[in-house]
Subunit: 214 residues, 2 copies
DNA sequence: CCCGAACGATACCCATCGGTATCGTGCAGC
DNA sequence: GCTGCACGATACCGATGGGTATCGTTCGGG
């Protein structure tokens, strides 16, 4: 096995492109994008700068590709949670919350890659920014779908609340202002689901059903 | 008026230190910390690099001082909201949410200074990091106090939920995944308050009153 | 009136960064 | 066995970064 192609040295080494992406992942995640030089990535990947530029047009393209991979992992979490709780959108949402909650300990070190990257890349034309924004929009849309399927009252508002809470848990974990954020997060999401399942929200909701963006 | 000291040229010019801080504020906020050079700050402040280093030990110290000022502005918002609604902690919390909601349009351009800065400064020993973390911890504590005074059930959990939502609204506004975030935010905070005011939360809360982190 | 401190301007130092050019090497397929 | 090509290594380039040294000037208080 693993003998088809590429056995450059001893211990089965991944092809250069994979090693580069792995190294970039670790370094970008732990040190930030702008703090990490291409040279450093090359060393960590046990290759050279030239090899990186043979596989990626620019450093920005490498960053974008990395975020594309991270986004795919989050998408996979969505898929997994849907597969684990078919036809039970409420459990799917709780599964997502659990997924985020389980990631919080890692987040506390260096934070969410999307939040960090967007902070490091102010120009909206940056390819990585577009990857992030497209991913976030897609996730938001998918979450609204779950909330709708769950029969929640005002699914868009519920999805917004859940999104806020998931993002906020990561931020607050990273800046250390709230501990046990994982447990709290799960409870809060349960509360949001319950709140939007109850026949009528109490917060000055009228009976017109439109719920005027409350 | 404004003639006591400092009238270097014509149009009343602030003293160099203030101009430097103003310039740093604008540039750090719009471009990010690491993208902005000291030289650029000097030009924007209509002074020179040397003048900056006469007032601040290092660039890092300038960053920390800027964040100290921003933190003070948020503290002022807390103070103001307390003064506007004395003895009405629920209204105070809603006032805070309104304060954040009103800031969201600006946030959508470049995001929250704390979130961005913490993303740009991975080393926890950085002076600016300590400013941020101390500020966030203080805010969290103050918010718990408000929730307690409001007689909310499980005030720490309520404060965590509100914190998450406030932070998350900024993140989601910045990455563009949710629009009308301001209106949504206010409704969500109202919902959290209502949820924690109701005699017993529905989400599998038992009668022991401890509400096991839900 | 004069002296000292703050200020403005310029030039400089050294490190790092993204990106490129060049040359050598080892392996694959014909 | 030979050729082509991806790869490895090194040196280099221009730009920019934070930070310092050294000037002359200006302005305010004794």
């Amino acid at each position: 096995m693993a003998a088809s192609v590429g056995r450059p040295s001893r211990v089965a080494k991944l092809p250069p492109r994979e090693r580069i992406l792995d190294a970039a992942e670790e370094l970008f995640q732990s040190e930030g994008i702008r703090r990490v030089g291409v040279q450093t990535i090359a060393e960590r990947a046990e290759t050279t700068k030239m090899a990186i530029y043979r596989h990626f047009e620019t450093k920005d393209a490498l960053v974008a590709e990395w975020l594309r991979i991270v986004a795919a992992e989050y998408q996979a979490a969505f898929d997994r949670v849907e597969a684990e709780h078919p036809g039970r959108p409420g459990d799917q949402i709780l599964g997502l919350a659990r997924f985020i909650a389980e990631g919080l300990p890692a987040i506390s070190h260096r934070g969410c890659p999307f939040i960090n990257s967007i902070a490091e890349l102010p120009d909206r034309s940056h390819p990585a920014r577009q990857v992030i924004e497209k991913h976030k929009a897609h996730q938001a849309h998918r979450l609204v779908g779950m909330c709708t399927e769950a029969g929640l009252r005002d699914p868009e508002q519920a999805a917004a609340a859940i999104t806020f809470v998931l993002e906020g848990a990561q931020v607050s974990t990273h800046n250390g202002s709230i501990d046990q954020a994982g447990d709290r997060l799960l409870g809060i999401v349960e509360g949001i689901l319950a709140h939007h399942r109850s026949p009528l929200g109490e917060s000055r909701a009228s009976t017109d059903g439109t719920a005027r963006a409350v």
